[in-house]
Amino acid sequence: MSFFWRLGSWSSIMWLESSSYFQQRADRYLKWAAWLLVPLYLVGVAALYAAFIHAPTERTMGEVQRIFYFHVGAAWTAFLAFFVVFVAGIAYLWRRNLFWDELGAASAEVGVVFTTIVLTTGPIWARPIWNTWWPWGDPRVTTTLVLWLIYVAYFALRSSLPAGEKRARLAAVFGIIGFIDVPIVFLSVRWWRTIHPVVITRSEVRLEPEMVQALLIAVAAFTILYFTLLLTRTAMRLQDAASEEIMQAVRERSD
């Protein structure tokens, strides 16, 4: 936890009126993130227990099916992260407050991390089951790769522009349009022919009850992990923005 408190302790030197809003929020978020470590640990241990011991071994796929719990947990969290980018983009365009820009960027970053987990665990499961690492013709796999590329491009866009209103505006628009791919990924298995397993449909859940429990606990663990990382990264970005602003003010005063 000292990592979080160390970040927060710098607040004493933040004194500019305009930066104090960011700094106060950053301090608050770091405290919340530190408190989330307790449920994260407990639910994380429960998720590992449920995935490896509580859930039975799948009859046809065998042990490798246990990748599914964390793979789906990461996918769900990536969708949630990109939804937050979408909402933050709308909020920024509406309020023109840079806080929303920093929140959206932090969420996109965490979303890319979770999508990377999805795109690496998927092929590891696919190799023994489909006898291929990467089925290019599968719509869910392809649309998920496109999703990852969209948000990598989001960061390419951000890093190509100087910090400020223009970058925030373009990133907000990009984040809103980029989110269109999320429902496409989700519905791809219903719209097109696919070999991707569909275990949860509108009418039934094709899983044993213990498997459903393991999946729900894994989703809960990943969701808590997402909020912990989001709060930490948002706080760091806000502190970075606040310090940059103070630095600028000091430079102007000494000129």
Partner: protein, 48 residues
């Protein structure tokens, strides 16, 4: 344990660890910047 299952979970922990190391690097950069800012402000305060 199935080697693919091991590889799958190893990848998850590796990606998360790499991200935490990235955050740690960012945090160290931020601390450095705040330290230099603090020194500048202290110097200015003493000069006044």
């Amino acid at each position: 344990m199935n080697s693919y299952l091991f590889a799958g979970y190893a990848v998850i922990w590796t990606v998360l660890l790499m991200y935490l190391l990235y955050l740690n690097k960012k945090q160290r950069q931020l601390s450095k910047r705040l330290k230099s800012l603090s020194e500048t402000l202290n110097k200015e305060h003493l000069e006044e």
